[in-house]
Symmetry: C2
């Protein structure tokens, strides 16, 4: 059966001041009326029932996530005691699923992407599931056709086409062998990727059998798998919290791309033609919400005179007025307001660091 | 005896969002711990006792001003039913004072200036009072030596020196006949005034005998004086509120400069060497509060990275973060935030107009 694993451990510091330690990006309604994690679960509706959806997150987020997702079994929301990147998270989820359902296939997705339409997303996942069932050793990834020379994504270079699964070719979906995973490129290289036509953005969504990814991790990361096995064995026992704390902390953090993808074969990339946005920064709101004739994206109460190219977000009834400004990001929250040059957006992380260093924890 | 009249009817729309209809500039602590009108009364301490201080203001501000100035007799705070500029305000105050104290001298001052040190201010006023007592027909004004070619002030051109009052020459103060009042100049003309050395900024502070200014007004504005006399006659009667409403509304609004100063003789200008600021806009906070090494003036909780030439004001514990911005004005209040280019500051009035026109009265 198909299970879903939602990775929801991100800190989302680029979305400060809306994003806070106890309420990061995936718990915010940045892109729609729903929070991003609610939209992620909603997107799986009809494809994966709630009782087969797993959420892995930072321990302090277990409770707020459970509040946002009351339809999920409480035990399905697993709190990691510390940050160890995606590979240990995926390993733990895979072991837990495999113990319940040895023949499972799983889809792994971040909690903070904007994807649509849902129907096309589900067709694409179903196509990948067939590919994974057809050849159980396959790892399936999803490649987004680049629409601009993005420097902020990893890329997947495709190789030879893969024949569609039996009875396939449906829905005009196609798959390729992966030639190579590529790190975030320079502007120049990103332009070359765009021009070449055989490079996709790495969506961070995967489909595989838990047994397959576990075998890969056993091969490339035996030490990590030892700790994960100890944790899995303790599930349900009184020792579990202590074991989880100790063993998870002992793992060396590593991304799944670095731990497995770049070394494994066969990896398949499905060309995903659904709309996709990783909502990586405030500027992405211009994509998800659109912009007016002056290039402004406004969420909330705003009056702008001679204002252009700006993003304004304000809560409730708080009014933001902008006057004679260009290319600003203005974000108002009840206890903190950000006014940033769009070109300086990367530095929002520095602000969070500054606040930590100076003990201004009330704003974190 | 010396009386003081504080003109406190201004709307202060340039200080939106801190300044609101029911709490304009003179009721704000823009320049110090005290509100501007409290500082204005404090500045008179020892020179004019509270029972001889009069405040003329907009009717809706009578109550908040009484709260800020509990030392003043409630009857001394007079609410005008509508805006009619400074001449009717001064006429009404003059009649009321003259009725109590026919030989009075009065100092008239705006409620929203920053002046210091107090001792020098009081010496200068006392000097002017002597000039007004010596020749009762004199109207005395105060000229501020310009420190830059300001386009936002009216100017006073001085003529021949006036001999100091008997026993005078004290405190190194000097006075001149006024040659001409000058309107707000262009940048080029302002520079000529600065270079010429015989032009002063018109401080808007005056000293005269009530009888003198009333005689001048009777001559130049007989119609205005008729309405004012009717109001003064009704003081203390049951009809007073109705009479005030009717008669004040019937007056044609006019500034005292336009009604009297530009036509009258003799007008004297005392060279005022106290520090003076009319706190005309957010940028004046850079003068009253100083600026840091990056040219930023910060009032409240702020973190700035690559921020320069900016003015930030925030209330209570609300944090404002600025990132990669120059020459901005950022003002946070509980229900509205302004982000303006310093060069666009004049347009803050337009915002207030916009809010009025669109019925967003909660932010006015």
């Amino acid at each position: 059966m198909l299970h879903a694993v939602i990775m929801a451990g991100g800190a989302g510091t680029r979305f400060w001041p809306s994003s806070r330690v106890a309420r990061p990006k995936q718990l915010l309604d940045l892109a729609s009326e729903q929070t991003m994690i609610q939209a992620t679960v909603q997107r799986l509706h009809g494809l994966v029932p709630p009782e087969r959806i797993w959420v892995l997150t930072n321990r302090i987020l277990v409770e707020p996530i459970a509040e946002q997702l009351p339809q999920l079994p409480p035990a399905a929301i697993i709190g990691e005691p510390c940050k160890r990147d995606t590979a240990p998270c995926i390993a733990l989820a895979s072991v837990l699923i495999a113990r319940q359902d040895p023949d499972a296939v799983m889809v792994v997705t971040p909690a903070d992407q904007v994807i649509g339409p849902v129907e096309r997303f589900q067709q694409t996942i179903a196509f990948a599931v067939e590919l994974a069932r057809e050849q159980p050793e396959r790892i399936v990834t999803f490649g987004i056709k680049p629409s601009y020379p993005a420097e902020t994504f990893g890329y997947i270079e495709r190789g030879e086409p893969i024949p569609p699964p039996a009875g396939g070719g449906r829905d005009a979906l196609s798959a390729f062998a992966v030639r190579k995973f590529r790190e975030k490129p320079s502007a120049q290289v990103a332009q070359q990727y765009l021009d070449a036509g055989r490079y996709y953005w790495n969506s961070g969504i995967f489909v595989w059998r838990p047994a397959t990814i576990m075998a890969a991790l056993e091969r490339f990361e035996p030490d990590m798998c030892g700790h994960i096995a100890t944790i899995a064995d303790a599930v349900g026992s009184d020792d579990y919290p202590a074991v989880l704390d100790r063993e998870f902390a002992a793992i060396q953090g590593k991304s799944i791309d670095y731990a497995v993808m770049e070394k494994y074969d066969p990896v398949v990339v499905v060309e995903a033609d659904f709309a996709w946005d990783d909502v990586g920064s405030w500027q992405s709101l211009a994509r998800t919400h659109g912009a007016d004739a002056d290039g402004n994206t406004i969420i909330g109460r705003h009056v702008g005179l001679r204002t252009s190219g700006s993003i304004v977000r304000t809560d409730a009834r708080h009014l933001v007025v902008t006057l004679g400004v260009q290319d600003l990001i203005v974000v108002h929250t009840p206890d903190a307001t950000l006014v940033a040059n769009k070109r300086d957006e990367e530095s929002i992380r520095q602000v969070v660091t500054w606040l930590k260093e100076h003990g201004w924890n009330e704003y974190l």
